[in-house]
């Protein structure tokens, strides 16, 4: 099998964790492993990419990759593919990864598999459907390189002891109309919008007042990529604004994980969150309806459990 390449997202702060996860996986497939890092911070990230298995890092620190995302990286990759003909390219299932992969597919005409949870070779990968109840093994055919978008956090990153040769590349700027970034905003405080968040931490009547919502803010921040929501009871009581309301007359959310703290689970709330892939409920009432639909129900005191959970999450993140 030809080389496996990993499209490594980089920033001036270093390599995105997804890059390290994918490199770890790529090492197991046999064949040469290379990373393609395009954008400011690429060269600086090369040692870390090398440590995780890349023998070559095709790097460019050109600002244009950050200013004209997606297309520029795809066209540059196309040029590299023409030079080095890899068999397989692994990309992370992030906003950027999907844009690059989608655009690249138009250029190479090769197959692109999304949402992969495991990769066996350039010809076989695995994913889940129907809310994770069925596992699908997929055969990939067609011209190489095959493209696979991998769900973030599918493989734990494990550094090895390699070093990478850095090969500088020039950006290939495509002709034709392209979008350009003019401003960047970080919203660390508020986090993602409720409807788009990967994880939702929601509070209900059980919180007893507005102040305990700070506890949920902490948990959301610890998890990362999480938003805080609420049941109608908490909104009606005036503890949080209507924008937080999840339910029939509020927002419908479909996160990976929905954590319901102090929410009884009345139908009008459930309607807004039952699409969540996993539901965790914390309630002191063992008869609360929400425990019937939760994947994991905890009967206990949320005032003890939530802070303890926040700490545990932080602990695991730092280790």
């Amino acid at each position: 099998m030809g080389a496996t390449w990993v499209y490594a997202e980089v920033t001036p702060d270093g390599a995105h964790p997804s890059a390290l996860e994918l490199l770890t996986k790529a090492r197991t497939l046999g064949g040469e492993v290379a990373a393609v890092a395009l954008g400011p911070g690429a060269t600086a990230a090369a040692p870390e990419l090398g440590a995780h298995g890349a023998t070559i890092v095709y790097a460019s620190d050109d600002q244009v990759f950050a200013d004209q995302p997606g297309r520029t990286a795809a066209h540059t990759l196309l040029w590299l593919i023409g030079q080095h003909t890899p068999s397989l390219i692994l990309l992370p299932g992030t906003y950027e990864g999907r844009d690059v992969a989608g655009c690249l597919q138009a250029l190479t005409g090769s197959t692109l598999m999304a949402n992969a949870t495991d990769v066996e070779s350039a010809s076989r990968a695995r994913t889940e459907i129907f809310g994770g109840t069925k596992i699908i093994d997929v055969d990939l055919a067609g011209p190489e390189p095959r493209l696979i978008l991998v769900r973030p956090k599918s493989f734990p990153p494990e550094p090895g002891r390699g070093t990478a040769e850095i090969v500088a590349v020039d950006a290939v700027t495509p002709s034709g109309p392209t979008a350009t970034v003019v401003e960047r905003h970080a919203e660390a405080a508020s986090g993602p919008k409720l409807e788009e968040a990967n994880v939702v931490v929601a509070g209900g009547r059980g919180l007893g007042g507005p102040e305990p919502f700070a506890m949920l803010d902490d948990l959301a921040a610890a998890i990362g990529g999480a938003a805080v929501g609420a049941s109608r009871a908490a909104v009606d009581a005036g503890w949080v604004p209507y924008a937080y309301q999840v339910g029939q007359t509020g927002k419908t959310v479909k996160p990976e994980v929905y954590i319901a703290a102090g929410i009884s689970g009345a139908l009008q709330h459930v309607v807004g969150m039952k699409g969540a892939k996993r539901i965790i409920a914390i309630n002191k009432d063992a008869d609360a309806p929400i425990l019937k639909i939760a994947d994991l129900g905890v009967v206990g005191d949320l005032f003890e459990i939530v802070p303890a959970l926040t700490e545990e999450v932080r602990r695991r993140a730092s280790s």
């Binding site: 209507y242 029939q248 009345a266 009008q268 309607v271």
Partner: protein, 633 residues
């Protein structure tokens, strides 16, 4: 008047005997006016007085032309003279009471009403009867009346007058003033709310004969020509004759405003103000302006918020002495907002999509989950082609999907089994009855569901239906016949009550505790079923205590009019307000008979942190039953 002629007719001419009876009772008998004691007396005096004294106006006009002339036959009859004297006095007393109510008691229901206009009318009426009495007094003084003692008051007044010339002049003065005030009053009439003396009687005649929960069908044929499709009421020209008559029958008494749950919780909707505002918009139309673009009534006459605040509880209609149908007009306004303009509280869209979408229920739950409540209860689920049961238990969307309502469904199922009733359910073939869509104004969606469900009933050979939801009950019983489904529909409390009477269910009435029953609007006020739930509760042994606002005066839980699916504004929540009233009785349990009431009041109980238990009548009955009934004697 031109508008009235051009307006579309309302199908209100059939069933004459019922109409005539209502005319007698409501108009002649003043029944609805007596719902408030003192105002009832006040108005009865004036109204009956008006009827009795009517001939005296003729007499006065005759007497102007021909001095000394009286009415033929009765003009000098003692009984007539007595009646005239008595009722003229009663009218004056009535006016006195009216001023007492308006100036001393000053009830809040008059807020927003035109008080000066009312004062002028009352004074004019006082003027009419005063001049009449004085005229009669002068006639007595002049010796023109044959039986003065038949007119005690006029007789007493006659002592103010001598027999000579000044009295003759005064007699002319009084008769002229009397006639002039009457004529002036008649001229003023069409411009004022006193027009009700002409419009009220026909308005009562043309009111709905059946239950107030029955909205009129609006046939929507999408295949037909677009101009023929009516989307409800957008401008004044869309109002029906009855709706126009409603507007001009309103006397601004405010009895409707006083009981409106929205108004009472700080929202802008007042049924009285709504009618007045639309009336003013209609009255303001210049008939000579020709084909002018009429302003849409919403938001120009009434705001969107006012239209959406209504819970369609019908308390306003119950109070209205002249049978104005506020709810029907509000729903007609909603029909236009929803179907023509798609302008409604956004959050209700979720409910509409759920009802419209593949699963056809307001919560968008999978139709296959309608049988999840069954568990291990023996239940017959009808498959197509199965023999029909005696009773179809219509579980309803709430009863199938909502956790609290499911308890009621389960209690009813077990009770029906214990009583040996032949019953079955449709399971996932049930579709929403369409009530929430209809109350919201989406008549087309309701029509589709009604036709679909009617077809299912026909195919399955269903004749009798029992429902736990008051809304399903009202729609199936009253509205579905308009779509070809004639069913005998019972509310579960009615059936349970029968079963208890027939001793098919037996209870151990040893239950301790107190209970207060909340009358569901769509069961009670709209359909007159007040006693069956109380009878059932009576058999449980719980001690019943009534809230002040009970039976026809029940205060809505706040979910009706599709408001269950909307966010609420205002100073207080309707459900919290009602719950506080229930809790105020000191009872341990609040009994309900509708899943909407259950959810709303249970939520209110939790928000108040109260220990009061909210439970359906069926569940309370189940707790008191003996298990399997023993053999009947």
């Amino acid at each position: 008047m031109a508008l009235l002629r051009a307006a579309r007719p309302a199908a209100r001419t059939a069933e004459v005997p019922a109409r005539a009876r209502r005319e007698l009772v409501h108009v002649l008998g003043q029944r609805k006016l007596f719902q408030k004691a003192l105002p009832g007396v006040m108005h009865a005096c004036i109204f009956w007085g008006f009827l009795v004294l009517f001939p005296t106006i003729i007499e006065a006009m005759l007497a102007i032309v021909d001095d000394g002339r009286t009415l033929p036959v009765i003009g000098q009859a003692p009984w007539f003279l007595f009646l005239v004297d008595l009722f003229a006095t009663l009218v004056a007393v009535g006016i006195g009471i009216a001023f007492y109510i308006r100036k001393v008691q000053r009830p809040d229901r008059f807020r927003g009403s035109h008080m000066e206009e009312a004062d002028k009318i009352l004074l004019a009426i006082l003027g009419i009867v005063t001049t009449l009495l004085l005229w009669n007094a002068t006639k007595i003084a002049l010796g023109q009346t044959l039986h003065p003692s038949a007119e005690p008051v006029a007789n007493a007044l006659s002592n103010l007058f001598g027999t000579g010339q000044p009295t003759e002049t005064l007699e002319r003065v009084f008769v002229w003033s009397h006639v002039l005030i009457v004529l002036g009053f008649l001229a003023y009439l069409p411009k004022s709310k006193h027009l009700h003396i002409i419009t009220a009687a026909p308005n009562v005649y043309f009111a709905k004969n059946g239950p107030s929960g029955h909205l009129e069908k609006l046939e929507i044929d999408l295949e037909g020509p677009e101009e023929d499709i009516r989307f409800g009421v957008a401008t004044a020209k869309d109002l029906s004759k009855k709706q126009l008559l409603d507007l001009f029958s309103c006397t601004e008494c405010g009895r409707c405003q006083e009981v409106c749950p929205a108004w009472n919780t700080g929202k802008p909707l007042s049924p009285k103000l709504l009618i007045m505002d639309i009336r003013d918009a209609v009255a303001g139309i210049d008939p000579t302006a020709g084909e002018v673009e009429l302003q849409p009534l919403v938001p120009n006459a009434v705001t969107d918020e006012v239209v959406w605040d209504c819970v369609t509880c019908g308390a306003c209609m119950r109070e209205c002495p002249v049978d104005i149908e506020h709810v029907d007009t509000i729903v007609d306004l909603r029909r236009n907002l929803v179907m023509a303009e798609s302008r409604f509280p956004t959050e209700a869209g979720t409910m509409l999509r759920g009802v419209e979408g593949p699963n056809e229920n307001p919560w968008g739950q999978p139709a296959t989950a309608r049988t999840d409540w069954i568990g291990d209860i023996p239940v017959r689920v009808l498959a197509p082609g199965d023999p029909a049961p005696e009773y179809l238990f219509w579980v309803g969307c709430a009863g199938a999907f909502d956790d609290r309502a499911k308890k009621t469904t389960q209690s009813v199922a077990r009770l029906l089994n214990a009583a040996g009733v032949d019953w079955a359910i449709l399971g996932s073939r049930e579709r929403c009855t369409g009530d929430p869509a209809r109350r919201m104004g989406h008549e087309y969606l309701f029509q589709m569901l009604a036709e679909q469900n009617a077809a299912t009933f026909a195919e399955a050979g269903i004749t009798k239906v029992v429902a736990t939801c008051a809304h399903c009950f009202n729609t199936l019983a009253n509205e579905y016949p308009d779509y070809g489904a004639t069913l005998e529909v019972l509310h579960h409390t009615e059936l349970l009550s029968h079963l208890l009477e027939e001793r098919k269910l037996l209870t151990t009435p040893g239950a301790n505790g107190t209970v207060t029953y909340h009358d569901a609007c769509y069961l009670g006020r709209h359909n007159g079923r007040f006693d069956p739930p109380r009878d059932v509760l009576g058999s449980t042994g719980l001690t019943a205590t009534e809230m002040e606002r009970a039976r026809e005066r029940s205060f809505c839980c706040g979910a009706g009019g599709a408001r269950m699916w909307m966010e609420e504004s205002g100073d207080a929540r309707i459900n919290d307000t009602r719950f506080a009233e229930a809790a105020g009785t000191g009872a341990d349990t609040l009994a309900v008979a509708c899943p909407y009431c259950f959810v709303m009041l249970d939520d209110a109980a939790k928000a108040a942190g109260s220990d009061m238990r909210v439970a359906d009548v069926a569940t309370l009955l189940e707790e008191a039953t003996l298990g399997e009934p023993t053999a009947h004697p």
